[in-house]
Each structure stands twice: as structure tokens, then as C-alpha cells.
């Protein structure tokens, strides 16, 4: 038996004490829910009453559920759109703002504001801009004589998903802009001076100095976008609720609707586990990719 003094000198015991609160919070609210969801996925359950064992029925239903697959496809489409839109625009703005121009700080200050708004606020702001009758966008199109382009941006199932993706881009571009600005200001000035002596113009110094030096930052930003795009929920939920007719459904909105609107928690848990697995696979693949890249 160790006495108290010995115990307080035991580094394993001390380490455990320091780690204990963090471990408890993580286990209860982050880790254990995953195996628990897996367990629920084998049952039919409305969240309140008794659970009825179904075996693999929820899982076979999931595999043949076209809405689940289209929501997953939407998640991946969102990844692609976010990569193609956010990285180039953020990079472009960062390059402009790191040049010696008057007012750069003013522009940076304003450009960052969308990051401060909650997803719900951004969603509703855009909903009113998209409003077919009173919205800013159709109003503007009418004003400049492009009436033929006005449409029900969120009501037309062919374009609703793309309309719903726009505010996500709008909100997150500033984040990557700031990241790129920080990385650009870390590039040694001598590299640009050397390029200039060699007769490089602005474009050449961008492609031969800035871009190669930003490589690992761009890769890291891409990983953040990829992993983040699988977790979107609030913005789409508030903007379209996944509609019309599931056109803008994401895995997270679908899982919410099934679990908490239809109170089908067994099937909701099945979607939860599927979402977890997709996020896990994608994270492992891309983190490995980025690690290798950084090492090179």
C-alpha cells in the first residue's frame, strides 16, 4: 500500500489526475456516443419507448436508400465546390492584400466579418437575398434588365443545392484568406528580390515564388475544407431544410430529420454511424496525404 505522500510523488498517478477531467468529458460526449450509436443502429426505436431488435435491417435499408446516397453525393459535391471556390478566391484576395497598397487593413477588416456571423444568421440573410419576390438578387437582375435570369433560387430543385452552397463559400473564404495572408507574409523578401533581379514579372513571381512557398499551407487548408465539408449542418438546415424534395440534403440534415423530426432514432443512428465512417475514412486518407506532402 502506498501512503499519500508516495502517491503524490508517483508520476503516473499525477498524470492521471491532470488528465482525468479532459478524459471524462471526451469519453462521455465524444467517444462513447460512437459505439452507442452503432448499438442503436440494430434497433427500431422512437427515442422514448422500448427498443425492438432488428438486426441488420436498418443497415440493409440504408444501402438501398437513394436519399442517403444522394445526400452523401451532395456532401462530396460540397467538398469539390468549396475547394474550387474558396482556395483560389482566398488566395487571390490574400495576394492583393499583402501588396503594399493603401487601405489594405480596412479591406481586411471588412472582409473578415462574415466569419463572425452564425451559420443560422448567414442562412437567413441569404434566404432573404434569394427571396423570389422581395429578394436582393432577383431585384438586382430585374433592375439591370436580366429578367430572364430571375428564378426561385431555393425552390427550384435543379439549382437549390448550388444556391445553398453559395453562403457557405461566402462565410468561409475570409478564414482561408487570413491563413494565406499569414503564410505569404512569412515568405522571405529576398526570394522576391532575387526573382525581380532575374527579370520576373508579377505573374512569374506569383507562380515561381509565392505558390511553391505556400504549398503546404494550401494542402493544409484543403484538408480543413475537405474534413469540414462533411460536417455541414446548420447553414443548410436553416436555409432549405435539405429541400426541396431532398435536393440539398446532406448526411447531417438527413440524419437530423430522420432522428428528431420523424423520431426514427434507430435509422437515424445508422446514418450517424455511416457519417462517422465516411468522415473517418476521408480524414485518414487526406491527413496521410498532407503529412506525406509536408515531409516532401
Amino acid at each position: 500500500m502506498m501512503n499519500k505522500k508516495e502517491l503524490m510523488n508517483n508520476k503516473y498517478f499525477i498524470a492521471a489526475l491532470f488528465l482525468l477531467p479532459a478524459v471524462i468529458f471526451s469519453l462521455v460526449y465524444l467517444i462513447i456516443p460512437i459505439p452507442l450509436s452503432t448499438y442503436y443502429s440494430f434497433f427500431k426505436w422512437d427515442g422514448i419507448g422500448a427498443m425492438e431488435f432488428l438486426g441488420l435491417e436498418n443497415w440493409s435499408k440504408l444501402l438501398s436508400d437513394p436519399i442517403f446516397w444522394s445526400s452523401m453525393a451532395n456532401n462530396f459535391k460540397l467538398v469539390l465546390i468549396s475547394l474550387v471556390v474558396q482556395i483560389p478566391i482566398a488566395l487571390f484576395l490574400a495576394v492583393l492584400l499583402t501588396r503594399k497598397i493603401k487601405g489594405a487593413n480596412f479591406f481586411k477588416t471588412i472582409f473578415f466579418v462574415p466569419m463572425l456571423l452564425s451559420s443560422i444568421a448567414v442562412a437567413f440573410l441569404w434566404r432573404y437575398m434569394y427571396d423570389p419576390t422581395f429578394g436582393l438578387i432577383n431585384g438586382f437582375l430585374n433592375l439591370v434588365g436580366l429578367e430572364q435570369l430571375t428564378r426561385s433560387w431555393l425552390g427550384d430543385s435543379n439549382i437549390a443545392f448550388y444556391s445553398a452552397s453559395a453562403p457557405i463559400q461566402w462565410r468561409f473564404i475570409p478564414l482561408y484568406m487570413i491563413i494565406f495572408m499569414a503564410a505569404i507574409s512569412n515568405i522571405p523578401k529576398q526570394l522576391y528580390e532575387a526573382a525581380e533581379i532575374d527579370g520576373a514579372n508579377n505573374w512569374q513571381s506569383f507562380f515561381y515564388v509565392t505558390l511553391p512557398m505556400l504549398r503546404s499551407t494550401v494542402v493544409n487548408a484543403s484538408v480543413l475544407i475537405i474534413v469540414g465539408s462533411l460536417k455541414y449542418f446548420a447553414m443548410i438546415f436553416a436555409l432549405t431544410g435539405g429541400g426541396p424534395n431532398h435536393a440539398s440534403e446532406l448526411m447531417a440534415t438527413y440524419l437530423y430529420t430522420k432522428s428528431f423530426t420523424e423520431m426514427n432514432m434507430g435509422y437515424g443512428s445508422t446514418i450517424s454511424v455511416a457519417l462517422f465512417l465516411v468522415a473517418l475514412i476521408v480524414s485518414v486518407v487526406f491527413l496521410n496525404f498532407s503529412k506525406k506532402d509536408v515531409r516532401n
Binding site: 460526449y29 461566402w170 480543413l224
Partner: protein, 275 residues
Amino acid sequence: MMINKLKQLVIYLFLLIWLLITGYPLVFLVQNSFKIRMEFFRNPVWSLPESFTFQNYIEVMESGFYMYFINSIIVCFISVAIIIIVSALASYAISRIDFKFNKIVYILFLAGMMIPIHSTLIPIYKLTLSMGLYDRLSALIGPYVAFSLPISVFILTGFINDIPYELEEAAIIDGASRFRIFRDIILPLVKPAIATVAIYNLTLLWNQFAYALVLTSSPSKRILTLGLFEFQGQHGINIPLTLTALFLSVLPLILLYVFLQEHIIKGMTAGALKG
């Protein structure tokens, strides 16, 4: 010289375009919040209000909206305080106490970042019900803390690793306990990192939505994001009124940003910049 002037002009042109894309929706928000309902339907959306009336602001506040601010403040501040203590303790152990599994424990904490929180909603809902915390503000604190831990441990561990070990050596030789070293030496030194962690989590949790949606139900327990969501559901047809509620909901962080701009930008990008 001419070419340089032209280049400058092109740069400003692009910056102005983005200023319009970023700024105009916000101007749209404010200008329409001063219109009364009929005026909004009568005039184009970009017209200036006929008179600056605060009628919408009064109506939003009288609907109980102010409660949502108080609720958000309470939940966020308590959560952030707990996050700072819990993550600082864990980061100290990972960084300074050699217990053989440091690296594994650290990686496991970071791996928490990969878990999509929506995958955890059903078990957390059930747990909250069975703990009798459903529809209480305190139900949000546990998930908030857990959700914020990975990034906080990441930032703080990195910071503590950079503190020279010599500062603690003297104290260890004097026989000070680990808790005293943590409290008297480490905590004062990591203050800047704690400020970053606090701002990062405060802004993220202030805008959090999913947990409140699932774990609370009565109007008196709504936090700001959920309050805005429900307000829109109820008054959505009255566009100027809803835009007013929207503007009020984003005002606290914008005001904070006006005073602490550099700190906020640094805090909000901390997770990404060090990653």
C-alpha cells in the same frame, strides 16, 4: 509609371468588388431593419428607409429575444471557463509529465477533431434525458466542453512545449508539487495562449446550434442561434422584423470585433494556422 498606376487601379477594382459582395448583404440587413413592414413591400429592397424607426427593434426585444442573449452569455462563459481549466491541466500533463503514453494520449485527443458532432447527437440526447438535464441550459455545457477540447489541448500543448524547462527546475528542486508548479509557474506563462483558446472557443460556441436544437425545447431556455431560428419560423413573413432580429443576433460579436479586432482574427484562425 502609367503601368503601375493601372495595376493599382485593377487591384482596387477587385477589392471593391469583394467589398460589395461581403459588405452589401450586411448593409441590406441594417437598412431594411429600419423599415416598417408595409414600406418594405412597397419600395425596392435597396431603397433607404423613409424614416429611421426603431419599431422593429422594440418589437423584437419585447418578444423575449433579450433572454436569448443572456442564455448564450451564461452557457458560453461557463463552458469556456471549464474548457480552459480542463484543457490546461491535460496539456500540462501531456507536455511535462513523462508517463510513457504522452504521444498516444495527445494523438487520441487530436483524433477527437475528426468526429462529426452530428454522429453523437442521439446518444447525447438520450444521456441528457436520463440525467434529467433535458431542456436545461446546463445540458449544453458537457457537449460544448468536449467539442472544444481537442483544439484547445492542441493549442495549449504546443505553447507549453515552447516554455523553457529551466523555469520549473528550481521549483522541482525546492520540492514544489506538480499542482503548485502548474498554478504558479505554468499558468501565468500561458496566459496569451489561454486568451487565444478563450476567443477561439467563445466565437465558435456562441455560434453553435445543433446541440441546443436537440437538447432544449422551451422558449425560456433558448440560446441566441436557436432563438433566431425559432423567431424566423414564427415571424418569417415579416421580413424587416426578422432582419432586425438577425442583425441584433450578430451584433455582440461584431461589437467585440470592433474593439478586439486583431485578437479575434488571431483567435478564430488559431486552430487552422497551427494545424
